[in-house]
Symmetry: D2
Subunit: 419 residues, 4 copies
């Protein structure tokens, strides 16, 4: 293939950190192109204005520096829809990084369109999932845009070379960045993830200093704390009776969870690109939210709806993990999930204590729980126990026919297929 012509204008997902600053400069030198920086507040807990100053210092024109607070959008349009599904990847991971990528990609594309850019760029490496998530999202939203992934292109393949490049291009390197970080961190309002370096041996427990945000359970308060979360149509709307916007609500739950040591996960997971990786995830508010959402669904969803959702959740979570947020199949599953949430309204009370969160009570005007039916006491005819006879007999009919076959063919005692 002949080399492609250089892009003219590139929108870069820019954090203001060393790596994306090097990318910024590399784009300028490699392609001679104009760069638009996009820096989003997704609740990662860092000041964004330094990113502006740094971009300016690296020669970006003011109108090409975009800084946005996307926290409400992030929680309302990405985190909450995902939590309606009780999504966990591989049984345990709450998808905190995965769910942020499509939003960033969407804004990159929109800004590219606004600014007439012909490419977008990101700082994800060629080994991870994030490159896939960014690039599938861009392809789905605007396939005419080129995506530049410098980590897959350049020859800055070691720490030394990166620092040399920084030095050669007057990119300031903070003293504490001269040495290598002992692990790599990603953060947003939903979670903090840590991976790499000291974490690469899954047979070694992670050292305490890896935790960025959640108090180790042993240091959490000695008294439990109760919290009540109210849901409307599947989304959390209030904490302890106080109505809160999506991002404010998640921030509140993060405070509670962090204080009580909740949401620490040490996981070895399967990346979409085929290898296993080990990560430490801290998802304090999300862990509470998942437990609460399950709690309210317990009384407001019937078995038909609940079991269907449960059976599709792994597929839904896998799609998000793999980067297919903007795919027909994710949207179809979302339609199914959203359809189930119409009555997922009510309040859950949870107990937070030293690393665990547990539903202790739940109530709702939309409850399907019927004390009349379930009671051990006299039920005034709500339920006729003789109905169970017919129910069992007909559910058993096919099993009886199988057993009769086994007997006919001379088989011994058995169940199922009669082996």
């Amino acid at each position: 293939m002949p080399a492609r012509p250089a892009p003219k204008k590139v929108v870069l997902a820019y954090s203001g950190g060393l790596d994306t600053s090097i990318i910024l400069k590399w784009l300028q030198t490699e392609y001679g192109c104009e760069v638009v920086t996009f820096t989003a507040d997704l609740g990662q807990g860092e000041e964004l204005e330094p990113a502006r100053a740094k971009a300016q210092m690296l020669g970006i024109r003011p109108e090409n520096i975009r800084i946005e607070d996307l926290r409400e959008t992030f929680v309302r349009d990405y985190v909450f829809p995902m939590f309606r599904a009780n999504a966990v990847y591989e049984g345990l991971y709450l998808l905190g990084t995965s769910i942020a990528r499509p939003l960033i990609a969407r804004r990159l594309v929109e800004i590219a369109r606004e600014t007439g850019a012909d490419a977008v760029a990101h700082g994800a490496t060629g080994k991870g999932n994030d490159q896939v998530r960014f690039e599938l999202s861009v392809a789905a939203l605007d396939p005419s845009l080129r995506v530049i992934a410098p980590w897959r292109l350049w020859d800055l393949t070691s720490r030394t070379k990166l620092l040399e490049f920084a030095e050669a291009h007057q990119i300031p390197v903070a003293k504490d960045k001269r040495g290598e970080a002992p692990f790599s961190v990603d953060a947003n309002l939903l979670h903090t993830s840590s991976e790499g370096k000291v974490l690469e041996n899954p047979a070694e427990p992670f050292p305490d200093y890896v935790l960025q945000r959640v108090t180790p359970p042993e240091q959490a308060p000695d008294s439990p704390e109760m919290v009540e979360i109210t849901f409307e149509r599947g989304d959390a709307v209030a904490v302890n009776g106080e109505a809160l916007s999506p991002a404010t609500l998640l921030a509140r739950l993060n405070e509670l969870g962090s204080r009580h040591g909740i949401g620490i996960l040490d996981l070895v997971e399967n990346r979409f690109v085929g290898m296993k990786s080990r990560g430490v995830y801290e998802t304090p508010g999300g862990t509470i939210l998942l437990e609460a959402h399950r709690g309210i669904e317990q009384i407001t969803l019937d078995a038909g709806a609940g079991h269907l959702k449960d059976s599709l959740m792994p597929r839904y979570a896998e799609l998000i993990y793999n980067g297919f947020w903007f795919s027909p199949e994710r949207e179809m599953l979302q339609a199914l999930i959203d359809r189930s949430q119409e009555h997922v309204t009510g309040t859950v009370r949870l107990k937070l204590y030293k690393g665990s969160v547990r539903t202790v009570a739940r109530w709702s005007d939309h409850s399907l729980y019927s004390e009349r039916h379930v009671t051990f006491e006299e039920d005034a005819g709500a339920y006729d126990q003789t109905d169970a006879q017919g129910f069992i007999t007909l559910n058993a009919l096919r099993l009886r026919l199988i057993a009769a076959r086994r007997a006919r063919l001379g088989g011994g005692l058995g169940g199922g297929l009669g082996g």
Copy 2:
């Protein structure tokens, strides 16, 4: 339908308690039939010999009194196969009661065949799942056997009537059984469940005295405890390096879990018979075992096997919950699950602390984790980052074609279906 003739000989699942003693006497008086009592030790933590004495007192001939220790069978042939699937019902329940029923039913059937009985009887009520589990199992194993469910047949529909019947038939009633128990309990080596009465309002937290076996987390030790569990082909075989039989191993984990407040669940679930019920479950060892099994699978199962298992788990758990252990479809799923466990061998280290259990390390000769591939360091060519380009491009192709259609038809920016 004309009334069926009375059974001649009935094998009764007999606990030695008041309710099944009344059933025993009712069978004798209602049908004039011979009764064989079957009392199994499934690790419920009660002496069984009193059941023998009581059965004798109620007129059962010694050769008709069967008392068996089924703990090893229970864990090896029922609990362990189920844990290979990481089975949880409705996201949370570890199926402690559900998994015991098929074993009891199987022994009832086998004893009926040995003793020439023409019926079996159980003490489950007409509102619950256990009647279904017992009766589907019997239908699958020997459909020629009649199942008698006195709670669906008799007119002893109140506590008063039951006690009157007991008195009329010289069935001794322990003083503490004269009043009604504040809730109903079922226990075996895997779990203790409590439900009914004081637990019937799911908006009310359960009182502490409901807990039968697990220390409330607040009263658990202030220091975490580490435990190492070793697996071979999907089943736990050793704790802290000590090889243990299945039942002994689960008992060991129960001690650890109970001490550290692990495995308490307050759940509103959907019964197979159509209503919701609220239960408090204590599954100390099982909760540790589930976490550990997930931990070892993380490094020994690849994504293809793991995700397939995950996607079928809800269906598998539902089958067990609903009583279809002895069904072709459960056996087919078991074949699939068992096929995946060939390399699920290795050791997991877990931290137990005040109600939570968390994997902190895992290692295995069968590990698929490849530090060479995942490392942030120089990987000596194990992984070529440029491969990611082609991988993403082809995964994106269909998304690009969808986006091109949207553009062609005049749609705006969008993902997925392009709405």
Copy 3:
């Protein structure tokens, strides 16, 4: 249980035939209740006015005789949504009877509300699926209504008794109904089903006289006929370029299919109540429609959407077969399916010939087929074949790691789990 008080007013699904006329009279005599008859035209191909006359003759007041043409509603709101899913039960059955039941039940409930009736009644037997479909639908729509299923209640358990009852109550019996029909028939615009009697031995081919509507293929025209069906958003809207209403369109396809011997199915299926039954189904238009819908989806749905639909279709079909049309899970699946149909617009050309229908061409403005990409000719860079290398390498990575494990552990050549 004490006997329930008699219903006061019952809405009966009334065909005007002998069986439902006997039910009508039985309701009157058994309960002394008022009866409202409901007779619907679902395209079964019978005059409805005779049902009015007969109802009047049996003493039903004119205002209590409801006759309705539901053909358009049936096809638009029931048949078409189902065909969006390509639903077939057990691989082959197009659900012609199943899909009509919820509509009839819905109208029964609505008429009961309009007329102040406290019960509805149907003529389905206690062995089949239709009783379940009627009664689950009524329960879902208005659980306060009682459902009366005379076949499960009365003692008219033989043909002789039925005829005696008819004679005793001056119900006219057509001469050709005096003997027993050699099989039982159900019909509507979608299909005709035949079962029972001469069809009860599945080892015996059905005799030609069973076919009610489709020409035997051997007698179909010797020349093929082409037909073009146009779809909009998943629903057929035109045949050979002529826009048609849903019912008119299905009738047109029925003519075509019947002429060419299309849509005959001889099936042994699993009933929801646990037994197997054998039926002969004739679904001429539906069989064409299914093939056409698949044909248009081939070019308008991408793999993600299509495979997700395919994987859920069996569950969706099972729900309809079992009577759960008005259930949350059917509605959730419908939301998912409908979401996928936004671009299922275009035209399919099919060839009809002596029992078979085959797509021979399809085109659409919404097509995702890209000749540029797929061509064997020069593709002008649409597709870079070197991308396949990376795609394959990363898809293979986990398989290579598994193989490396096998080699490490001393296993031989193998695939998969390495057994």
Copy 4:
């Protein structure tokens, strides 16, 4: 990446045709390597000895020419296991090409090991699925082997260049190969596929001359033919009572199907690499076999087993289509499917006529069909119709509770979620 060193010895999947002869020579000239040719008889209907002569002529030493008859292996170990699942891709395609690839790949790997080769090579292009199937299989079986895919590597990107290369290297070109074939063909005992060139416009019906093997239905005999196929444990073992080996049996069915115009499919499908393609498939025997297998399962599988299989079939078919035959998940699904086939034994009678095949009768000692239960006649108590009451009532309970909620909250008539 630095260029890899040349392979020393390559096993080439060699058909003897022009394309693979060019590849053979290209490997020799490009790498200076030794080439081992592997030519397999999979029932494609071509003489293999010419391939030997041609290989020799191209300088391959006799001991490096491998020609094998794999027909029995192909049908017994690949086709039959797949048919146990009733596998069809995207609702229609019987996977005739897909299922042959893993066997060829397996033999390539085995021969490489036997001959000490360090690479294998295939003639699949960079746009199709076959490259993926070959290479995933090799990766799963022996990841140390290099795979060479010349179509992705060389610059022979036009017909003209290929012919020039052939001429330059004394590769004989048959006269009829000088022009381009109007479409591309793949064949084996299961099917013939045609694609490309004249077939690239899916809006154009394929011309009759595309058909390679099946008589057009209009030219098929005017009289139907009956055939009986006998199964044992899921696999066909006899035709019309004559026991046949797997390959012989499939050949026999091919004769029958081809004569009667059976198994023609014109499909637009989704390739794994992301684009759609259009193919014409002829699967005469396989189409009969699928119908027959469904027919025997109808009476020998119960609903639990059958519905579980049905729900997983699309995933299983997708795995085979995508090239994951040697993957843990395909093997897990196979274990599940095989477990279900224990009693799939019996005989099916089918009618073949002008393009269609239809089950008309089926019988088995293993049948679960119970005429006693299903009969419209007196059933002597086999089935108690009053059981249906309880069955329906409990299945309806959750729907009633949903409806009660809707009424409580003021909603109108509705079903399901109560919208």
